[in-house]
Amino acid sequence: MSSKICAVIDYGMGNLHSAHGALQTVAPDTKVVVTSDPEVILKADHVVLPGVGAIRDCMAEIRAQGIDQVVAEVRNSKPLLGICVGLQAMMDSSEENGGVDCMGLFSGQVKFFGNDLVENGEQLKVPHMGWNRVEQVAHPLWSGIADNSRFYFVHSYYVQAADASQVKGRGHYGVDFAAAMGQDNVFAVQFHPEKSHNAGLALLRNFLAWDGQA
């Protein structure tokens, strides 16, 4: 049997060195490739959609390079993991950059934390940057990871889910937000598993071992 292939989609938004390195580390027998080639992505066993920066630029590149068409096919066929802005691009829309339509794999909006985020009388800094807890909702990707483990976040916009059944991890920073979303063979996280030490590596390992069945 030939080794499995994991495609990390490269659409020109940020460095994918870390995601590639973390995935390759947890699964030495899997061939992890960073690619924008639809053929390679569609042939892969697992697909990762990362993303950093402004959603307007991400969505523009996703559409310009036809990544939205590829994702539409992948979502019906194999395990797909969205990371950070990759998750946000899977929502219906984002209010960043004056309002941006996204891919709509999950229902809900991406909203700004705001400049007057307050909790217990304390002004909270934005971006939400650092290690925060995630309350898990049962899913194979949490296997072996203690509930309420901390993951590394860095974001100013958060996911407000419209369908509670799609929320697979709950975060809180001044407001409740979706830290993980899941539906069928698609899973997506707001935090950076590739930067979240042991808990993050465990989640990536679980993803590469996942057959897409929730």
């Binding site: 973390a22 950093v52 909270l124 800094k125 971006p127 590394y152």
Partner: protein
């Protein structure tokens, strides 16, 4: 609030080697940044910062390779500072695997550079480093060239401006305290942390674990950076985190 305060060990790197002496028990090659970064990672560091003090261009290529090697083995956020003067410098470091870059003098000489960097790469990866010295009661000014050259710029006002220009985080070093081990300058730390709505990392002067607690509790810092207390094996990062947690500070201990 569940967001943890962060501890960030800092390594000074010259031509791809850690300088200023690092003295872990059990590490034979004390100058290998990859080995040292892995050690701090294993001890539970929340991030790692590298300050590149290399003067030559050839040396900087070595630093890029060092960042690549570390990013392949250490899966926590990495910040690289020192000599970041152009967008191309940022691109190289991010492509090598850095998550953030720290801009220091270049921001003072050309504030628009911070704006351009934030627009191009996103605020999340732009740290503005501020070296401040107290010049009067309740007044701190920016100094460059390792604290030798005054600029006359008010440090608190500068921090506010940098946040407006798109900095995602402020790395505040008190030049009076750097290497002195008498604790952070809590006055300027608090003044800046309260004045901006982005995270502030306190740096300069840590001599014991209570200083870290003070930086958060009295200085209102979101993260604390230290070098020598970890390098010489006085304390592990894990001990520091446990000490801060015992003082009632939210920390990542798992």
């Amino acid at each position: 609030m569940a967001l943890a305060k962060r501890i960030i060990p800092c390594l000074d790197v010259d031509k791809g080697r850690v300088v200023k002496g690092v003295n872990f028990v059990g590490i034979r090659d004390a100058g290998d940044p990859v080995e040292i970064a892995k050690r701090y990672n294993d001890q539970g560091a929340d991030e790692i910062t590298f300050l590149d003090i290399t003067a030559s261009h050839e040396g900087r290529d070595t630093t890029v390779h060092m960042v690549e090697a570390i990013a392949e083995q250490v899966f926590i956020p990495l910040t690289v500072g020192g000599g970041i003067r152009e967008l191309e410098d940022i691109r190289r470091m991010l492509n090598a695997g850095a998550d953030k870059v720290s801009i220091n003098s270049a921001a003072v000489y050309n504030p628009e550079f911070v704006k351009a960097a934030s627009d191009k790469f996103g605020a999340q990866c732009i740290v503005v480093a501020i070296d401040a010295k107290q010049v009067a009661d309740d007044r701190w000014e920016i100094f460059t060239h390792g604290g030798r050259k005054p600029t006359g710029i008010n440090a608190v006002e500068w921090a506010v401006k940098m946040a407006e220009y798109g900095a995602g985080e402020i790395l505040l070093t008190s030049m009076d305290r750097d290497g002195v081990k008498s604790g952070f300058d809590l006055g300027v730390t608090r003044a800046i942390a309260d004045a901006v709505n982005i995270p502030v990392i306190a740096s300069g002067g840590v001599g014991n674990l209570d200083h870290l607690v003070d930086g958060v509790k009295q200085g209102h810092a979101d993260a604390v950076l230290a070098a020598s207390i970890f390098h010489f094996g006085e304390y592990t990062v894990q001990q520091a985190k446990e000490h801060m947690a015992a003082a009632g500070i939210e920390m990542r201990l798992d």
